[in-house]
Amino acid sequence: MTLQDVIWTIALVGMGLVALGFIHVIIQAGKPADDAASRKSAHTAHVLQAWLFAILFVGFVAGSWATLRHFPIPPQHRDLDVKQVVDVVGRQWSWQMTPASVKAGSPVEFRVRSDDVNHGFALYAPDGRIVTQTQAMPGFTNKLVYTFAEPGTYVVQCLEYCGLGHGPMKTTLEVVAAQGE
């Protein structure tokens, strides 16, 4: 299951729960309520609201901790001590990558910059899914570290609109199996 599949599932469940809440209330909306029923439902609503707050708060704290504990972006201002380094330069409308081949199974540091406008450096796996990305911004070098689990031909696609040739602005990166595999 890719990260995209996990995100898609969480989104569908979340939006589904919101929809169920609305459908439940819409079904009930056509029914009248006397004073006693109104008081009771108001009380229930307050209790439910408190529970909802508690659930969301726990989700907020736990989710933030889980997703930020290991910060997903490598430090940018120190040597990353990664053996495989690829220098990447984007320009309207081509990529220059040195080298254009890396080994799977060990981290690769991409040093990404731009010669002209903003570009998006996105790596597409052979199955057509994005595995990681960063921006290529003029005047800055973004360091991206990624470990390829599988060898194959990966496509580098520009993902930040950069003018007429944005769509065709792509190249390939060969990821070869590590020796001994």
């Binding site: 599949d5 609305f22 819409i26 909306a29 997703t67 910060f71 960063t134 921006q135 800055f140 944005h166």
Partner: protein
Amino acid sequence: MASLTLYPDDERLTGGTRAAFNLYIITAVALFVLMMLDGLTMRMSQAKWLNVPPDLFYQLLSMHGAGMVGTMALVTTAVMWFFLRKYVHLHLWAFVANYVLFMLGAVCIIVSIFVGGYGALWTFLYPLPVHGTGLWTGDWSALFLVGYLLIGVGSLLFYLDAAAAIIKVHGNLGRALGLQWLFGGTIDQNHPKTVVASTMVIIANSLGILAGAVVLVMSLVNIFYPEVVLNALVAKNLIYWFGHMYINATIYMGVIAVYELLPRYTRKPYPISRPFLWSWAVSTVFVIVVFPHHLLMDFAQPRWLAIIGQVVSWGAGFPVFLVTAYGALTNLYRSNIRWTMPSRLMVLAVFGWAAGIVPAILDGTIRNNLVMHNTQWVPGHFHFYLLLGVLAMALALMFHVIGSRVNEPPNSRMDKAGFPLYLFGGLIFVFAFLDAGHLSVPRRMAEHLDAWTFTDKLGSIGAILVVLAMLYFAIRITTGLLKSPAPGGARVGVPDAAG
């Protein structure tokens, strides 16, 4: 507390106010139809059902982005004005000046795109406006940016007039926001939610517009004096501070229609409360500082800014789920509401906002952004809460107003047919985007691989349904507004015509 009278006397539109309101709304619905056709053309081109050359595609994309954001701002400004004028004295000239400056700005934008060939999108991301590579020149980019400046000045004029009027009545903006009741005290139940929401928008969006003005002027200087080079990261921060704030403000202006109208249709009071005031106070801060979530893939950005972007994106869900959506549902629950166009649209609007936030929060998570950024997931979530949320809020007010002539909310057979067309068309349209994002299809790209065209075709079908519904709504609303008002205005004092 807001009146439960369906068409209260203090909302009646007469003379200049009616002309100005009609001008705003008729312009907006016409622009919405045109911009939707623009969007449909792009989706059909991606689906390979039309052949739109890339240069024209990116011009259409620039027009669609600028046009939709601008029109959303225009129409929700009308929503805010419509209700706020009941509580404070707004000057009609400021409302009209905003419209005039908007139209002048729109002309600059349209000319720069379709005459000058400008195609650097609504985000004018530095330094793309000066890198047109023969498609457009810096002069046309400058005209586009001047168009933005004119629109921004119009918005600021309106906000300044509204701020002065609010301060005159409430003493200062903090009291208008209800900060004095955050930690205790008896909340004045007559303190209008409209004033709270409007104050938040005035504070936050004025700051956003000022950030926009700074980067617009910097970009103009760069166009005419290329030796003045900007810091691309600072420029991007300012652009997204402005851009995010400007489009977000439309939600907070639009939701005023729900706060004001929903209790009239449910015939249940919708009291102001401490959680409500907290949610708006917190949202005021959140909405100002949340913009770094647009720069999560700019690794040169300081880490603390990226963390703020994620944490605040998540936190922004609390006020929406716990207060606005939950409050609206509580008000709706067992209310014996009679479903008419305004009430249907209001419930849809709150749903669209609440549900659309779920994929937005997921995208605002740094780890997820590594695979979702700049995919069609992004237009998926923002179309969710703009098309099914904000536009539905504005449409609710429009349908409500056209019912004022006969003191009866619209609910014709055609209306009943148009609503599901809009709802299901909208859902198909946004879910096609979201699924495409899940499949890593890039956003903002003219050329699509064959493997991506299934969701493009699905999205096009959804868009066709939405355009048909919106075309009907536009005609219905325009003809409704242009009918002469009932003699003496709407009947007054009828406690309820919705039941």
